[in-house]
C-alpha cells in the first residue's frame, strides 16, 4: 500500500510539473505587441493592461498622429490623420501575424505571438 501511494504521488507531481511548465511557456509569447516606425522598434506594449499611446511626428511642418488603444489581449489604431485611414479600418487585432500598418506614417504594430489567425494575408 505504501509503495502504491509513493508511486501515485510521484506520477501526480510529474503530471502537474508538465502541465505547469507547458502552460507558462506557451502563454508567454502572446502578451505584447511591438510598434515600429520606419522599420525601427520604438515601443513594446504590454497587452495585459488597458492603455492609450500616441504616436506623433512632424513631417514637412505638418503633424502626423496615430492614437493607439490597448485592451487586455488586443490592440488597435483608434484615430489617425493619415489620408487613407486603412490603419483605423483594420480594427482590433488580438491574434495572428498580419500587422496593423499605417503606410503614410510608416507605422507598424506587430503582435508578438506565433499563432496563425484565420487568414494568411488580407488584400484589397
Amino acid at each position: 500500500m505504501k509503495s502504491n501511494k509513493f508511486w501515485l504521488i510521484t506520477f501526480g507531481v510529474l503530471i502537474i510539473s508538465c502541465i505547469t511548465v507547458i502552460y507558462f511557456l506557451q502563454k508567454t509569447p502572446a502578451s505584447y505587441a511591438n510598434i515600429y516606425h520606419n522599420n525601427i522598434l520604438i515601443d513594446s506594449v504590454d497587452l495585459s493592461n488597458t492603455n492609450e499611446i500616441w504616436f506623433r511626428q512632424t513631417v514637412n511642418n505638418a503633424e502626423q498622429y496615430n492614437q493607439i488603444l490597448v485592451e487586455v489581449g488586443r490592440i488597435r489604431i483608434q484615430a489617425a490623420n493619415c489620408p487613407d485611414k486603412f490603419c483605423i479600418h483594420q480594427g482590433w487585432v488580438s491574434s495572428g501575424l498580419i500587422p496593423i500598418v499605417c503606410l503614410p506614417h510608416r507605422l507598424v504594430i506587430q503582435l508578438q505571438n506565433n499563432k496563425n489567425a484565420d487568414y494568411d494575408a488580407i488584400v484589397g
Partner: protein, 351 residues
C-alpha cells in the same frame, strides 16, 4: 526490533525514493521544455518592414528556433533591399536610374533588370500600350505616395510625349532609350519579380512554408503548418470599408491585388488614384476598381493586374484567359459586381 543495520537500510530506501522522484521531476520538466521548443519550431513568425514604397510582410512557418527564423527573415529582407537598389527610379546608380539618365546611350544592366523590362514590353504589346513601363516622367510628376501633386496640363503634355515602350531597345545585357527624355518606371511590375525571388530563396530553406506579401503582391511557398490551403482574404474595395468580401484558398501560388484605392489622394473633394492612363496622363477610368489574381508567378501576376485595371473588365478577361501562368481571379466592378475568372477556390462572404 530495530537495529542499526535496519535503520541504515530504511535510510537507503528513502534516499533511493527521493532520488527517483528527483530524476522523474527533472525528466518531466526537460520533456515539457523540449516539447515547448519543439512547438516553437512548429510555429510561425512574421516581420513587417517598409521597402519599395510600401509595406512588406514575410511570415515563415516552421524553420527552426526563433533565432533561426529571425535570421532567415533578415536575409529575406536583405534580398528586397538589394533589389530596391537595382530597380528604384529614385536611387542614384540603380539600373533604372542609370538608364533614365544616360541621355539615350546604351547602359549595361543586370539580368534581373533585363528580365523585368522584357516582361514590361510584352505587356505593353498585349495592352496596346496602355500598360507602359516608359511612364516614368508621368508617374514622377504626380508624386504618388511622396507628396501628391496635380500637374499642370503643359507638364502632362510634355510627360505623355515621352511615353512609348517601343523606345526601349534591349541588346544583350544593355538597355537603351531611343528618346533621351523617356524615363522607365518599373514600379508596376518589379515588386512581383522581387516577391518571386524571395519565394525562390525561402523555397531552398528548411521551412514548412512562407507567405511573402510585398504591398499586395503575395507569393506563398510550401504549406501552412496545419497543411491546409493558404487563405488570402479580399477586402471590400469601397473606400473606408473594413469588410471582407471573400477568401481565396490556394496552394503554392502568386496572389496579386491591385486597386484604385491604393496611394490615392483627395484634393478639393476629388479623388486621384495612382493607375495612370498614358494617353491622357490622368488617373484611368474604367469599370474596374479592384482585381485580385492568382498566377504561377508574381511578375506576370502583377503586370496582369495593372493591365486589367487599365483596360477594363471586358478586355481584361480576354487578356487574362490567353496569358500563360494565369490561374484565376476576382474582378470587382465600380457598381460592386464581382466577376470570377478562371479556376480558383473562391469563398465569397455570404453575410
Amino acid at each position: 526490533m530495530y537495529t542499526g543495520k535496519n535503520i541504515k537500510k530504511e535510510n537507503t530506501i528513502t534516499r533511493y525514493k527521493a532520488l527517483v522522484i528527483f530524476i522523474l521531476i527533472i525528466t518531466a520538466i526537460t520533456i515539457a521544455i523540449s516539447g515547448c521548443f519543439e512547438m516553437s519550431e512548429e510555429n510561425a513568425l512574421g516581420l513587417t518592414q517598409f521597402h519599395l514604397d510600401t509595406h512588406c510582410t514575410i511570415i515563415i512557418h516552421g524553420g527552426g528556433t526563433r533565432a533561426e527564423v529571425t535570421k532567415l527573415l533578415d536575409e529575406a529582407f536583405e534580398i528586397i533591399e538589394n533589389f530596391e537598389k537595382i530597380f528604384s527610379i529614385t536611387v542614384q546608380d540603380s539600373d533604372v536610374w542609370r538608364i533614365n539618365h544616360a541621355g539615350g546611350e546604351p547602359v549595361t544592366v543586370s539580368e534581373h533588370t533585363i528580365m523585368v523590362i522584357r516582361t514590361g514590353i510584352m505587356f505593353g504589346e498585349l495592352s496596346d500600350g496602355l500598360f507602359d513601363i516608359s511612364i516614368g516622367r508621368l508617374s514622377r510628376l504626380w508624386r504618388f505616395g511622396i507628396d501628391p501633386y496635380i500637374p499642370t496640363l503643359s507638364e502632362i503634355d510634355f510627360a505623355i510625349e515621352t511615353v512609348d515602350f517601343r523606345n526601349i531597345v534591349i541588346d544583350g545585357n544593355t538597355v537603351q532609350l531611343k528618346n533621351p527624355d523617356t524615363w522607365i518606371d518599373l514600379g508596376a511590375i518589379a515588386k512581383g519579380y522581387i516577391a518571386d525571388q524571395v519565394g525562390d530563396f525561402l523555397r531552398e530553406k528548411d521551412i514548412v512554408g512562407a507567405v511573402i506579401n510585398l504591398g499586395g503582391d503575395i507569393v506563398t511557398v510550401g504549406t501552412r503548418l496545419d497543411e491546409e490551403l493558404w487563405r488570402v482574404a479580399v477586402r471590400d474595395p469601397k473606400a473606408g470599408s473594413d469588410e471582407l468580401i471573400g477568401v481565396i484558398d490556394t496552394k503554392e501560388a502568386a496572389i496579386i491585388s491591385s486597386g484604385l484605392y491604393e496611394r490615392m489622394f483627395v484634393i478639393d473633394n476629388r479623388t486621384y488614384h495612382h493607375i495612370l492612363d498614358p494617353r491622357s496622363g490622368m488617373p484611368v477610368i474604367t469599370d474596374l476598381v479592384s482585381v485580385t489574381l492568382v498566377a504561377d508567378n508574381a511578375l506576370v501576376g502583377e503586370a496582369l493586374s495593372t493591365t486589367a485595371l487599365l483596360v477594363g473588365s471586358e478586355k481584361a478577361i480576354e487578356i487574362l484567359e490567353q496569358t500563360e501562368g494565369f490561374r484565376g481571379g476576382i474582378l470587382i466592378l465600380s457598381d460592386g459586381k464581382i466577376i470570377k475568372v478562371g479556376d480558383i477556390r473562391w469563398l465569397p462572404d455570404e453575410e
